[in-house]
């Protein structure tokens, strides 16, 4: 198998197995940071990892179906200082996320803030970072 075929197989394989939208690490420039939109959904996964954390959400599509969103958050170190922990979000809980949408229109975003069902706000930055 030549190198081109191997590369093509790898791409197709990744596309087949990666059902979550765009769980790739982005620069902030991938997002419309001047816009903030809001969605509510159920946490499917919360990945506490560098360089950016991830929240995967299952959201009602308004037509009786479900869609999945993957929103990218700040690094664990930054979030720790803002009051988060690696257990801040649990699979199955309902949350509301304010985030900036991706420029490419995919169901991804850059988190501005997460609000839990009881009203607790998980922000991006705490006073110590100012």
């Amino acid at each position: 198998m030549n190198m081109r075929l191997i590369a093509l197989s790898a791409v197709l394989g990744a596309a087949f197995f990666d059902a979550t939208p765009g769980l790739a690490h982005h620069s902030n420039v991938a997002f419309e940071v001047t816009k903030v939109i809001t969605i509510s959904g159920v946490v499917k996964a919360f990945q506490w990892r560098n360089p950016h954390t991830w929240v995967v959400l299952t959201v009602d599509d308004g037509k009786g179906g479900k869609v999945e969103w993957a929103v990218e958050g700040r690094a664990p170190g930054v979030l720790l200082r803002a009051g988060w922990t690696k257990n801040s979000l649990q699979p199955g809980e309902m949350i509301t996320v304010d985030f900036s949408p991706a420029k490419d229109g995919s169901k991804t975003g850059l988190v501005a803030r997460v609000t839990k069902a009881d009203g607790t706000i998980l922000a991006n930055a705490g006073p110590a970072q100012q």
């Binding site: 420039v29 940071v33 009203g119 970072q129």
Partner: protein, 261 residues
């Protein structure tokens, strides 16, 4: 009139102290203006911090932005480095790429070190480690490190022929101010934001305490190929007090690099 002998005796120890005991910059710091004086008054970094985790009555105010706008869509700030036409053209290429949402010119997104002098923004916090012969600056963002040698050594030809992101820094004390010269910086890093530079860039810094725990770094960037005049910026950092976010966290950027775009 002659100075009384007891006054002379009092003056000698204080003069010696000033020469032999530089200030101790050791500690963990957070930037007050991570994107430089030029950014003051603009963007969320300059504003009041959002509240940390907690409950609020009623719906919270909408956040206005998720991150500082850094894709170049607003053009260049009048305070940005003044580029020669050749380097302005390079900046325009990078700007178009970023506005399209590409991470091609974003070293941080690739887990590469931010490099000098951009790394001194220290947006995620900085730890300073200091002894008589060396002062080390650590950036939580991308676990980046730079060493400033204080023992009188100079960059060798081998060092000058091997440019790096942090470059090679030597320093000395002028009273309570640490004066640092940085050379051997390769072209893959940026001056600030995504402003490119040449292999001829050098950086001079004057670092001092403005008051206890309030550290200032006055940075002057010189680049005869890329800049029409030296560029100056000032960073200030506040030292964390014991028990109040006085530990930085590991960054380990490549954890998420496997699926980087």
């Amino acid at each position: 009139m002659t100075t009384p002998r007891y006054l002379l005796l009092c003056m000698i120890p204080s003069a010696l102290y000033a020469q032999t005991t530089p200030p101790d910059f050791s500690g963990v710091y957070y930037p007050i203006n991570p994107f430089g004086a030029a950014a003051l008054g603009r963007g969320p970094a300059a504003g009041k911090a959002p509240p940390a985790a907690g409950k609020q009555k009623g719906p919270p105010p909408r956040p206005t932005q998720s991150a500082p706008l850094s894709d170049g869509s607003q053009g260049r700030s009048p305070d940005a480095p003044s580029l020669t036409p050749e380097y302005m053209a390079k900046w325009e290429v990078i700007r178009k790429s970023r506005m399209a949402g590409s991470s091609d010119y974003d070293n941080t997104a690739k887990c590469l070190p931010p490099g000098m002098p951009a790394m001194m923004s220290m947006a995620y916090g900085m730890e300073v480690m200091q002894n008589k012969d060396k002062i080390t600056f650590f950036s939580e963002l991308n676990d980046a490190l730079r060493r400033v040698y204080l023992d009188g050594r100079k960059p060798s030809q081998k060092v000058l022929d091997d440019p790096t992101y942090a470059g090679y820094s030597t320093g000395h004390w002028e009273g309570d101010t640490l004066v640092v010269d940085t050379v051997a910086l390769h072209e893959a890093s940026f001056i600030e934001g995504f402003t490119p530079h040449s292999d001829a860039m050098t950086v001079k810094e004057r670092i001092r305490f403005l008051s206890p725990g309030l550290l200032e770094d006055r940075i002057t960037v010189t680049d005869p190929k890329a800049l029409t005049k030296p560029w100056e910026t000032v960073k200030t950092y506040r030292r964390a007090t014991p028990g109040n976010n006085d530990e930085l966290r590991e960054f380990a950027c490549p954890e998420g690099l496997g699926d980087a775009k």
